[in-house]
Amino acid sequence: MTAINLKDARIEFKTSKDIKSLLQEAANSLGVDLSSFLISTATQRAKEIAKAERVLALSKEEWGNFQSMLENDKKPTKALKSLMNMEGFDD
């Protein structure tokens, strides 16, 4: 048995009958049991969240806008200037 298949922890939680049957139906339609469905779905989402914590992937159009924003001349706004003139904190 590999470490990946080792099941050495347990998750238990309560939910409503409605949500349980919704989840069960989704699991049934994929032909997996409820636990496998919940674990695989939540694991996938957890990986997305972990990635989003370090990287933002832009679409082609968003990337183009971002690039031109970086290349254009920039001037600080009044609000930025006055914020930068605010008092600092003690060390």
């Binding site: 933002l56 924003m69 920039k74 600080p76 609000a79 914020l83 930068m84 600092g88 060390d91």
Partner: protein
């Protein structure tokens, strides 16, 4: 005016009042109570904490910075037959909070000023194209006024300020 000190978060210090810290945002409160120490301990974030020198160094505010990258979705391979999608290194302002008792005094703005000063230092020490953050709906106008621009459609809104504006 109270004397507030801003210091780098120290994982071995038990900050006075940190357990009862309340900035009015449940997610940020829970981060301070449960995750802050672990994230700094693991070097996932750096945190700076605001202490009230006139009240037993009470923890009254904080912010955290993370390293972050903005990239192009990798499945679009046109015009880039070789290599990885380009990655732009930025600093992410991940969390910021000021205790309710200290709100409405411009302290949050002064914390953001400090974020900007630190970002400039980071850009001098390593590559950093600007400051990135996810703005909640009610904060978008404020960040826009500072020059942050929306870089993608999502909620909360991904916004970016180029480092040149801070130099």
């Amino acid at each position: 005016m109270t004397n507030l000190r801003l210091v780098k978060y120290d994982v071995s210090t038990a900050y006075n009042g940190i357990k009862s810290f309340d900035c009015g945002n449940a997610m940020i409160n829970s981060f301070v109570h449960k995750s802050l120490k672990k994230r700094v301990q693991k070097h996932l974030s750096q945190a700076y904490v605001l202490l009230d020198s006139e009240n037993n160094e009470r923890f009254v505010g904080f912010y955290t910075l993370d390293t972050f990258s903005i990239t192009r979705a990798s499945f679009e391979t046109d015009n880039r037959p070789a290599g990885l999608p380009p990655m732009i290194p930025v600093v992410k302002l991940s969390m910021l909070g000021v205790d309710r008792q200290f709100q409405g005094k411009g302290i949050g703005k002064r914390l953001i000023r400090d974020v900007f000063l630190k970002s400039v230092k980071i850009s001098e020490l390593a590559g950093c194209a600007g400051v990135y953050l996810l703005a909640e709906k009610d904060a978008v106008t404020f960040y826009s006024s500072l020059g942050f621009v929306k870089i993608a459609d999502a909620e909360p809104l991904p916004m970016f300020l180029a480092i040149e504006l801070l130099l």
